[in-house]
Subunit: 335 residues, 2 copies
């Protein structure tokens, strides 16, 4: 089978690619070819796999060509992130809305109806005066997004559902919680600091937390997130249960609890590198996100949230230890 | 003030235009110019008003030009209807999604943030396995549309909300119930028969009802629908209460009750012209619509549903009596 991952050179995309290649099959079909479409080239270890091909460039321009390639399965992860969509409205509309629509139409016109997993986000949820946001959102909470990113994700959920109803795709939309801990540098996501306050102190650097320690947020480790995407892909239509998007499992955790876990795993000195300095732009975006999420339908697929935030910190440290830059990434960790 | 009505030559659009011209003002501002944009020319009585100008042609091609005209207010009613969107997916995507997006962007780029009423539909609601449809939908029922038309309307609701949040528009989306009784010929809407089973018998013609007499549906008279659109336009932002779409008031009524009302107003012989003959395509679409709706937020704006379906039948007869073709339209009505 031929599989496509858009955003396949990104952090979650590359991790998903490695997981899929290691398994060798998806939903019982052998992976013969894995195409990674991204604006950047994929990591070298992925390019070294003979099954992998890269399609590097803007996805919008590639959509028709990708449709013509005749994929059996697609993970559509490519997306502009929340902070940049809020700062540059047209970028978000183009990257998240027009690009997804172009991809959906390209696959529709092939008539092959590939299995298609769309990575949506808990950012679809937000408070509106007439629709108060419950502290913990469920699969059936009414989404009234309060960011352009959330609006774009929600719209794509509904496009995927209708293209599926029409038989153009076998689509499934899954709402990801904030993925932490991400390696590397901060990105344009308003949620980027949830990784930064763990990653930077472990690297021996100071980190700034732009929101109060009392802020609660649903998070998921990279490994559990990838497990979720694969399980959603492999679910039968009956097991997915309808065409409406589902929430992936998340650990609902306060910033203070994240830092407690960091201290428990890595020590007081590491935690002490986190400084609180409110950033009004970030804090406003985060205040309009849910403070927790449940994932009943995903649980029915056998998925579970991470056991604890300490587990998430340990997963990050273990990942760093396997990476070539381990010494740099864990410079702040006393051994 | 300069006002635009898209779909302004259509039945609801022309009726709204007449109501607005008769009032002379909207939200306290005098109507200096009313532009009716439609693929057809407006009725002669509207064109005869010196304040009225027509822009006839495809709306998608006109969007940029309309943006440049600098409107203070917009009613965006133009839409492909449910049945045709189900039969021709690309038509619906172009007419309902691309056209609305093009209009929104045209107004965004002017920087004038006009007041913008979007006519959505209770067709946004539908049953999905994981999200059962309540018998009566409310303002906060989770929409999981089961027609492409409903999906397109829902997506536009979210676009309007986000363009409003960003300050590009002062947008308000209102979900119309099925408008009955519509004059003239049947149209491509799957709901067209709700008018046909009243209109045709009154004209002395046989009508076919494609669904069971037990089918219940939310309906609204043309007059109440126009009242609703105007009230939504005139509401302050605080009174509109957020940016999420609201339901307009509807009378929740069974087909059998509609026919009882027809008999009460027009006699047994008129009712006897309705024959039941199930149409699977129509019945399937209708089965995926809500059987009733409430409209709490619209009620807070002072809006109410029609008093009874008999009132709706009488409103239609009274309208026909004022029209030039009264004799033809009411040929079946014994006097």
């Amino acid at each position: 089978m031929k599989l496509l991952i858009t955003g396949g050179a990104g952090f979650v995309g590359a991790r998903l690619a490695r997981a899929v290649l290691a398994r060798g099959t998806l939903a019982g079909a052998k992976i013969d070819k894995l195409v990674l479409a991204d604006q950047f080239a994929p990591p070298a270890d992925l390019l070294a796999d003979p099954r992998v091909e890269a399609r590097t460039g803007a996805l919008l321009a590639q959509a028709t060509g990708l449709g013509d390639e005749g994929f059996d399965g697609v993970f559509h992860l490519a997306s502009a992130v929340s902070g940049e969509c809020e700062a540059d409205f047209e970028l978000g509309q183009r990257s998240n809305l027009d690009t997804t629509r172009a991809l959906l139409d390209a696959f529709r016109l092939t008539g092959k109806a590939p299995r298609f997993v769309f990575s949506s986000s808990i950012a679809v949820f937000g408070p509106d005066p007439a629709v108060p946001l419950p502290p913990v959102v469920t699969d059936t909470t009414l989404p009234t997004p309060q960011t352009s990113y959330g609006m774009q994700k929600l719209i794509c959920e509904h496009l995927v559902a209708d293209y599926t109803r029409k038989g153009y795709l076998d689509g499934r939309a899954a709402r990801l919680a904030t993925v932490a801990v991400r390696p590397g540098r901060p990105n344009g996501a308003a949620s980027s600091f949830f990784s930064g306050i763990i990653r930077e102190p472990l690297a021996g650097e100071e980190a700034i937390c732009p929101v109060s320690p009392e802020v609660s947020h649903p998070v998921s480790s990279p490994a559990r997130t990838v497990d979720g995407l694969i399980a959603v892909y492999e679910a039968s239509r009956a097991a997915f249960n309808g065409r409406t998007a589902l929430n992936l499992p998340a650990l609902n955790v306060k910033v203070s609890e994240m830092l407690d876990a960091l201290e428990a795993v890595a020590g007081k000195a590491v935690r002490a590198r986190v400084r609180f300095e409110r950033d009004e732009r970030i804090a406003t975006i985060v205040a309009n996100w849910p403070t927790g999420a449940t994932a009943t339908r995903a649980q029915a697929l056998g998925l579970r949230p991470d056991g604890s935030f300490a587990d998430i910190v340990r997963q990050y440290i273990a990942d760093c230890e396997k990476a070539p830059n381990a010494a740099q990434a864990l410079k702040g960790l006393a051994r």
